[in-house]
Subunit: 347 residues, 3 copies
Amino acid sequence: MFIQNTWYVAAWSHEIGADGFFARTITGIPVLMYRSADGTVVALEDRCCHRGAPLSLGRREGDDVRCLYHGLKFDCSGTCIEAPAQDRVPPQARVRSFAVVERHRWVWIWMGDAALADPDAIPDTHWLDDPDWRSLPGYIHYDVNYLLICDNLLDFSHLPFVHPTTLGGPESYAKIRPSVERLDNGVRVTRWTMDTDVPPFAAAVKAWPGKVDRWNIYDFTIPGILRMDSGMAPVGTGAHDGQRIDAAEFRGCQALTPETATSTHYFFGHPHNFAIDQPEVTRAIHQSIVEAFDEDRAIITAQQRNLALDPSFNMMAFAMDSALVQFRRIVERYLDAERQGLARSAV
Amino acid sequence: MFIQNTWYVAAWSHEIGADGFFARTITGIPVLMYRSADGTVVALEDRCCHRGAPLSLGRREGDDVRCLYHGLKFDCSGTCIEAPAQDRVPPQARVRSFAVVERHRWVWIWMGDAALADPDAIPDTHWLDDPDWRSLPGYIHYDVNYLLICDNLLDFSHLPFVHPTTLGGPESYAKIRPSVERLDNGVRVTRWTMDTDVPPFAAAVKAWPGKVDRWNIYDFTIPGILRMDSGMAPVGTGAHDGQRIDAAEFRGCQALTPETATSTHYFFGHPHNFAIDQPEVTRAIHQSIVEAFDEDRAIITAQQRNLALDPSFNMMAFAMDSALVQFRRIVERYLDAERQGLARSAV
Amino acid sequence: MFIQNTWYVAAWSHEIGADGFFARTITGIPVLMYRSADGTVVALEDRCCHRGAPLSLGRREGDDVRCLYHGLKFDCSGTCIEAPAQDRVPPQARVRSFAVVERHRWVWIWMGDAALADPDAIPDTHWLDDPDWRSLPGYIHYDVNYLLICDNLLDFSHLPFVHPTTLGGPESYAKIRPSVERLDNGVRVTRWTMDTDVPPFAAAVKAWPGKVDRWNIYDFTIPGILRMDSGMAPVGTGAHDGQRIDAAEFRGCQALTPETATSTHYFFGHPHNFAIDQPEVTRAIHQSIVEAFDEDRAIITAQQRNLALDPSFNMMAFAMDSALVQFRRIVERYLDAERQGLARSAV
């Protein structure tokens, strides 16, 4: 149902403390996360191999985990190293451990074949902790399948309609046809809106002499990772030709991680590289994003209710759906490949 | 699952204001209702053909509707007349529109083939706005399949048991065998209870010299419409022979409209033609009806829970079930006819 | 899905008053219980044969029950003896009645073939009302299948991990291998822990000179009945050899009764035979048991959520699971026998 051999964002770094446990269900699998003594994040299946109890209700013993149902103890590789009532622990007694890489404040997890987990395949989101950029960590939870949120992010023509007072702008924004470029594992969307109004969230944090040229250029790649160069510059200052004079630039990083077939984790940050010594600007930008994403969640959740009323409903593709149709095909291609058991890295 | 080619009550007139939208799910289909500039009620599928978002979260633009997900615009026939990101709108881009007739404070909707929607087939409920009658508009929501409520309304022997302090009367009321007459699209039930106690709700609004002769004469027709001549007159004054001297007369109008397979809308009014210049009488009668219908809802919802525990449970028919067994057969006949694709008006 | 021909605990005696009705769903079947004039408990299917309404929303009429939907009246054998709208009641009009035996404050019910209901097969729990013993009645409700709770009770190695501050004791308790003896309809588990700490709940109600020898000896029999001789005596005073000098003895009685496939009734008492003139001791023991059983419920409910995430999850048997694996096999044997229609008493 979900792509296995790919990197998912499992958590923000700060969600996993030095002590204790952090539990989150990812692609339908309960996952226990914690930091070993050296700070490395460990990720194990949060379901004891014995009778299925959550290890996250258990106890840390150094870098090991004791299940507090019947006392089985697991090391951080997931191997059961102690079973109170017997001397020898059978070698097959273990829980799954997952490859994890912590990078730029995100904890990435590989739910599939660990042998295929190549850290070099993790998308670059360095803006999240680059000293030249500022952002705040965002997370919201959705009660819908992640693909409906992918759809949303792959078609920005919804901005003036869903987000008129936050990310939006004049409705003419929706008339722009973005260019959509096929990548191996997703799509690249490029949208330029020339000589347009400053959107509300940007007007609130920077003075502008008048109209702007605005861009949204992003890669949206499996499993559901958006990395975007966006921003605006005073009209006619050459932004489209590569000059960014007196611009407001952003590097939005967003990640959708399926929790179950009907729920999704959504991680996001929206780094900016201007006014980086003004925390109130960072907070204002973050707050606008949170408000906007709540607007998305309202319409997408209502959409989901409508779709649930009639499982036979067929969406009708319009021109603006080019990117999302391509992306859904790519997801299907990956799922097909995994179904066929091809031991092929999906990145 | 539900009869398509029939008139359902969709709303009370006052629920659909001059501005804005009113949304209600009917027979499993989300429906958007609003009034065009001339006051005519428009009913469209409340699910954008593009990606399924509810149009009711959108925006009025004159008599048109703008979906506030991606900005598609529909006219009041359901035709998409604008799609922001493209010049030409494909002709198949539309949502369903439903035939609607507003009559006597009820808004009737035809969920099936609009070509078959004959306004003359709408049951007469003129007492709801006849100046010689008075009533208040009632609505309650049920979490049960509508047929369980039809059953309830087709067998008034439940009155003394479910409604002892409202509609009821002595338990002998239940001993009366009503006559049940087969109509083309339902049944006519006639029940006379001679020389009986005044039921509590009527005793509260009118003085009575003693016992009464009481009648309940109603047509119950598909899809679930009850229209009733009921009342009582002092015993022996000839009501049964057609004289209604010093009587209290009512013309109950009730309509069951399936929301989903497990939930139902219930519209009702209980017009009376005495004391019409005393609003407190109208209010008292209405309040009694609301209390009584809440009593029905309690027992029917409990019944539904019991049925859900054992889907194989078979109800056992008794003599009192004559009307409801006939009505269920009529419903099946209509459903069969529609399944067989016979283009036959169901009225 | 559940064993039919066996005795289940349906209620504590005090739950069924002299007047009125008590309703509880048992093995998926709604059951109405009440006391006839002579105090005998009657148990009928709480679902009118007519249209399925709960009789428990009805009315007592002497030892009979009047359904307050349409007024059908049933005697305490479940036979319909009156139907308001007709003179003759058809002989097949009845609801199921269930064999019931009230014994030692528990009301036992037989959900299967009443002809097979042998009161002699009811497990002995006389300590619940023996004047030499004291206990308080306990009941909790679980939202899990009853077998997960059986599993819990069949492996006491969880005590130090789930109940460290109530029933527990040092973790070495979990290292003890109990002996497991096969009974015809269950298992007998015997666990001796020599020279061990007094568990917290016992330390709170009795003074101890030092370490103790502790025992838990119980029969766990279908459908889910635990009867336990447990306790502790000062170390080395010969408890293991049959001498119980200055001991604290208990006779725990526990019964699991499936409500539905995903919920369970849990009845329990924990009689003690020391300090029987000190109600505060009885209350303290009871309170410890309730706290401990809430601890069980927390971990088992979490386990259930984990299992629901992956129906294909296979539990892995360890040495400590000997008793529960045997018990599950016995349950399967009974279910198979009933599926094969063998008219065989399951006790």
